[in-house]
Symmetry: C2
């Protein structure tokens, strides 16, 4: 399963990037990548798999970067209902089909699967199907997958994997509430 | 040295945030924070302590977010000369004095010391002076410090510390060159 080095290492290659771990910064770094890519006139598509994770600050900034960053947050027409696993699976499927179409359209040079690891970890969506998509993705498109508990198989397939490790967290240790501009 | 919990935990508090470690995403996550903050109409100042680290993609996106994100990259009027330690110290001092003034002005709700850990680690700038500044910073201003090798003292003083740990890196392992939109 391990990727072969391309014949010509100078060739432009779409990377599979994974940000995982218990610490902060997984999504924030993905949004930073989106911003950097947009600045380079690359089109970016973000599918937000987790309801309620989409923050006002990001949305407003991405609007200014438009038309280069397009986002579909969960909650816009989707509902997670953790008491109904079949409904959750249907929701995940719906989100997946949209982002899959975007990925295969080749209209975007970067596609971000925001919190996909969560969805796979809790088996709301079959991992093998997702990995198969990545295996057959358009060669030059960068894919970014975020969320805790990235699977071994995804890590094996990925080119660049970073674990965000929590060393210190104010909200847990010190009772400081979430801060505007940091957490949302 | 450990910070006390504030009397009223719901109070707005400027956090000291540190992104460190050998992995990717330290600066990218800081830029993501800047973007989120800017989207919330917070003013952000970024001092880029390392020459040549400033990427075209970020710059162009931040320009669209203007006037909320202001950046001074090293290399604009500064020069690092690693063969001349005294000159390097003078350069670090010059950058520090600018960002210190910005921090104390309270015109910014977030100030990012980009790659400051590098500068402190190699003793281009006296750490105690920097820590003293953080200790006396305006209470509501968020400060973000990035770079490898964050010192124990800085970690002790910080509220939120994340270590970016490299699990897999394509440029090292597979001979894939740096990719536009990812690395620059």
């Amino acid at each position: 399963m391990k990727k072969q080095s391309p014949a010509d290492p100078r060739k432009r290659k779409g990377l599979i990037i994974v940000n995982t771990g218990e610490g902060k910064g997984k999504s924030t770094a993905a949004f930073g990548l989106a911003m950097r890519a947009a600045g380079n006139k690359m089109n970016v598509f973000i599918m937000q798999f987790m309801k309620g994770q989409w923050k006002a600050g990001e949305r407003k900034s991405f609007e200014k970067l438009d038309p280069y960053v397009e986002v579909i947050p969960m909650g816009d027409g989707f509902t997670w209902d953790t008491n109904n696993i079949e409904q959750d699976k249907a929701t995940a499927r719906k989100a997946y089909e949209i982002v899959k179409e975007k990925l295969l359209s080749e209209k975007y040079q970067m596609v971000i699967f925001e919190e996909i690891n969560y969805v796979l970890h809790y088996q709301f969506f079959p991992e093998d199907e997702f990995l198969e998509l990545l295996k057959n993705k358009p060669e030059k498109v960068h894919v970014v997958c975020t969320g805790r508990n990235a699977s071994e198989k995804l890590i094996e397939m990925a080119d660049l994997v970073t674990e965000m490790k929590m060393i210190k967290h104010p909200f847990k240790e010190q009772g400081i509430p979430a801060q505007k501009g940091i957490e949302f």
